[in-house]
């Protein structure tokens, strides 16, 4: 049987609580479009997908234009550099997987994309990260690449001048 994964939460008084563990296992398919994207990522490529109606380039792509509800089959290879559109500084550790605090989470608008990609910013003090900052991907060693955006360890400043607010204000 499943084993009684229960504990005595109530000592000797009236029973007021119970423990309800749930565990379910799945095998999830990424779908055709996202699989194309993730196969690209496994080769160090960032393949956006373009809407045939409005020409917006989605990064990361999810296989459809959420505005028009149509498949985005045309692929556009994008450079691994872009502009920070917004960010936050994380000061509270909440996961073993996250870096040491403080660290910076940002939305990065790749050059040529119409949606921004989530990533970490490193290579500079957290307090100096700003909107408009130009960044480039710092990839993990090639032998560690897999079908996962975790292949990009973080984004680092390129040293270019900051982008004008007008250049990214529509993407925030």
């Amino acid at each position: 049987m499943s084993g009684r994964a229960i504990e005595d939460l109530n000592e000797d008084g009236p029973v007021t609580k119970m423990h309800a563990p749930i565990r379910l296992e799945y095998r999830i398919g990424a779908g055709t479009a996202q699989s194309r994207f993730l196969r690209g990522v496994a080769e160090g490529k960032l393949l956006g997908q373009k809407c045939p109606v409005c020409s917006k380039v989605y990064m990361p792509p999810r296989g459809s234009c959420p505005i028009h509800g149509v498949p985005t089959e045309e692929e556009v290879e994008l450079p691994d550099r872009g502009t920070v559109t917004t960010f936050c500084v994380v000061n509270i550790p909440f996961s073993d997987l996250a870096p040491e605090v403080p660290y910076v989470c940002a939305q990065v608008l790749l050059d040529g994309a119409d949606t921004a990609l989530f990533g970490l910013i490193a290579g500079m003090p957290a307090r100096e990260v700003r909107m408009g900052l130009r960044v480039r991907a710092e990839w993990a060693p090639r032998e560690e690449w897999t079908y996962n955006l975790g292949n990009i360890k973080w984004w680092e400043p390129t040293g270019e001048p900051d982008a004008d607010y007008d250049a990214y204000k529509d993407y925030i």
Partner: protein
């Protein structure tokens, strides 16, 4: 009361497992097909409502991402129910009564192939007395099947006859997964899985989606040559615990059918959300159908069961038969919860 009709119905080609398409990819072509049938542009739809279950995907709020299949910009009027999309259709029907919008698109989708559906359905049970024991979906149904057989004197052969008829009907349904000619004798040779039920008494694991478009009075007549008018619709729910219910009957179905006016006139066909063979017999009794009504001409959920769309498909199948002239009056039934806890009945008529 504003007259509302089903004017379009599309469904995916259901399969046991569709690993190559995620939910959005599965839905997009079905939405497009329904819009094309109705001759409507996306932005003409006044209200969108969906039904799905996050546990099927194992991702909280996964229904939000399904909106990518609809196109939600500029922002649309939208709602969602965490149950079969037949209830999304009910919400859309209520929404259309306001009179400010004249079309609604309803969709339901589910991929049961990703996890273990039989255990996922355990999570809809009371968490204190039932869920810790992990009675699965088939076990719960089997308890009701036994109660029905005990109360009526019917036998496992009666259940097998339901399966035989369902599979024969499904032979003409291109979306059916389980179809074809068989006999009760052949089915009864199978061992029971959870007695008194056999695998053949249970619905197939199915990935699929369905879309129904509703329209009000004049708009419906403009869209469809023969709209399937919703003349009555009602849903009723019983207590959750199966230990306080009479499992051999479905009082909630009977009440909903009465309120919807199912027995007010001759019924040509009925599509029932009977996932298990005995449920068809219980629901048929509760709807008060006589032998002249064709039951589950699509093959019903025993032929294909894309969970969270199955109930909506009953309404769509019934409506498309009315619109195609295959009948003048149909009853569609949808169910939710363990052992037919919650039941919806819609009466559809041609003009």
């Amino acid at each position: 009361m504003t007259d509302v009709a089903v004017v379009a119905f599309a469904q995916s080609k259901h399969v046991a497992a569709d690993p190559n398409r995620n939910e959005v990819e599965m839905l997009m072509p079905v939405v497009a097909e329904a819009l094309e049938q109705a001759g409507l542009e996306r932005e003409e739809i006044g209200f969108v409502c969906s039904g799905s279950c996050d546990y099927l995907l194992g991702v909280p709020f996964s229904f939000v991402t399904a909106l990518d299949a609809i196109g939600a910009w500029p922002p649309i009027r939208e709602s969602h129910v965490e149950q079969d999309a037949a209830w999304a259709l009910y919400e859309a029907w209520v929404r259309l009564q306001h009179g400010d919008v004249d079309t609604a698109l309803v969709y339901g989708f589910g991929k049961s192939s990703l996890g273990d559906l039989h255990e996922i359905m355990t999570l809809q049970l009371d968490p204190y007395y039932l869920e810790p024991l992990w009675p699965d979906m088939v076990s719960m149904a089997a308890l009701q099947a036994r109660a029905y057989l005990d109360a009526t004197g019917k036998t496992e052969r009666d259940l097998a006859e339901v399966v035989v008829r369902s599979r024969a009907a499904a032979a003409s349904n291109p979306n059916a997964i389980v179809a074809g000619t068989t006999t009760a004798d052949a089915l009864l040779k199978e061992q029971t899985t959870i007695a008194p039920l056999r695998t053949s008494d249970c619905p197939p694991i199915t990935d699929g989606a369905a879309v129904v478009i509703l329209a009000t009075a004049d708009r419906a007549r403009a869209i469809s040559e023969r709209p399937a008018w919703i003349r009555g619709i009602d849903h009723r729910i019983e207590a959750h615990s199966i230990g306080v219910r009479d499992l051999a009957t479905s009082r909630s179905t009977a009440l909903a059918a009465g309120r919807a006016g199912a027995a007010d006139d001759k019924v040509d066909l009925a599509e029932m959300h009977a996932q298990f063979s005995h449920e068809e017999l219980i629901v048929r009794d509760a709807l008060g159908l006589d032998d002249s009504a064709t039951v589950n001409p699509s093959g019903g959920p025993l032929a294909a069961n894309p969970v969270m769309a199955t109930g909506l498909i009953r309404i769509g199948e019934a409506a498309s038969r009315i619109s195609a002239g295959g009948g003048d009056r149909a009853v569609a039934h949808a169910s939710s919860g363990p052992c037919l806890q919650h039941n919806l009945v819609a009466v559809l008529e041609g003009e």
